[in-house]
């Protein structure tokens, strides 16, 4: 088993200037250690869609690596994304799936099928390569080569479940974070600050 904190740490050590698109519990740990916060997007308020946003960024900026920090429950909710990503075959997309078998954010209820092997599913859909890790040393040593290989790659990480005991606060500030991050990322990727305010939060 790997902890969220260790997994995020070793991924960040190897990310370079990759865009990151994260979701759920990973976002909390990623925000604490990320070395490139203006290349980070934490998908809140749109459960399951991190991999779809990451695919769009990867297709739109094919020279830049894009890492997606997805989770098992989110992926189950958007399972067709595996076929969509495999079909477009972006060489710069690295799809991490944190597998703990539970819905952490809502208190630790089990997934409908906790034994799903996401690496095998991605392989069956046609990802360029897939990997599965349950100890941090193996993950750490393999990541540089994985991130130097052609995508799309799925990296399944078996993590300790961390059921959240407190509810999620929905505030105007917390909901403004995603549109602010997306605008900062567009500015970083395009060099232009041309996406003005829109929607209820900014």
């Amino acid at each position: 088993m790997i902890t969220y904190a260790d997994a995020c740490r070793v991924i960040n050590d190897s990310r370079g200037e990759a865009v990151s698109v994260s979701t759920m519990t990973q976002t909390k740990y990623w925000n604490q250690i990320s070395s490139e916060p203006d290349l980070d997007v934490g998908i809140a308020n749109a459960m399951s869609k991190a991999s779809s946003v990451a695919l769009g960024v990867a297709l739109g900026d094919p020279e830049r690596p894009v890492i997606c920090l997805d989770s098992d429950g989110s992926l189950l909710m958007n399972f067709g994304t595996l076929a969509t990503i495999a079909g477009m075959a972006p060489k710069n997309l690295y799809h991490f799936v944190f597998n703990n078998g539970i819905y952490s954010v809502t208190g630790g209820q089990p997934l409908p099928a906790p034994g799903v092997e996401y690496a095998k599913a991605a392989d069956a859909c046609g990802y360029a390569s897939v990997h599965r890790f349950d100890d941090v040393e193996s993950l750490d040593s393999a990541l540089p080569d994985i991130l130097a290989s052609d995508g799309p790659v799925l990296i399944e990480i078996i993590v300790n479940g961390e059921p959240q005991t407190e509810g999620v606060d929905q505030t105007w500030e917390s909901n403004a974070r995603l549109p602010q991050q997306l605008r900062a990322l567009r500015k970083r990727l395009t060099g232009t600050d041309d996406w003005g305010p829109g929607g209820p939060y900014i």
Binding site: A46, K49, V57, G60, L182, L189, W195, G198, Y201
Partner: protein
């Protein structure tokens, strides 16, 4: 569906004129010929998705990376994509033109297809502005959709109220 004639090549010409880079889509029976016409247009990349709920998030990612995507899904698929519309279009202020197949549409308002019955109330409920295209004569409205989306930083729907013609027929 009404009997207006809408040629895919004319819609593709509008997309090219607007500088569209990617066409994110889950094909439906009404827009099958549009897909074929797009295959012949090298400046636009087709991005097929497995379920309509993926279309808006993929388009959001493309836009963030500096591209100019549109999506094309059926009205029934737009209902499936409701949470993505809420969180990753309306919620983030995404200027996105959404081509929506208006399955079951007719001008008499008497349709047995609930996919048609609910489309316009659904768009009103989400506060999404829209226009309806029923033939080539309506295509001068397409630039308005792009203009409004860009001006408001909000999604704008173009409901396709007729089946695309096959080729030049």
């Amino acid at each position: 569906m009404i009997n207006g004639v809408l040629h895919p090549k004319n819609v593709v010409a509008q997309l090219v004129q607007q500088g569209v880079s990617h066409y994110v889509t889950l094909p439906d029976s009404e827009t099958a010929h549009m897909y074929a016409a797009l295959m012949a247009e090298p400046s636009i990349t087709i991005v097929p998705v497995s379920r309509e709920g993926e279309a808006i998030p993929v388009a959001a990612g493309l836009f963030v990376a500096g591209q100019n995507p549109v999506i094309s899904i059926q009205n029934a698929g737009l209902y499936e994509a409701g949470d993505a519309l809420r969180g990753l279009a309306l919620g983030i202020g995404l200027p996105l033109v959404m081509f929506i197949g208006y399955r079951g549409h007719n001008r008499k308002g008497d349709t047995p297809d609930s996919a048609a019955t609910f489309l316009e109330p659904y768009l009103h409920m989400w506060r999404v502005d829209y226009l309806v295209i029923e033939s080539d004569d309506d295509l001068d409205r397409v630039p308005l959709a792009f203009e409004r989306a860009a001006k408001t930083n909000q999604p704008f729907a173009v409901a396709i109220g007729t089946e695309y013609a096959k080729g030049d027929e």
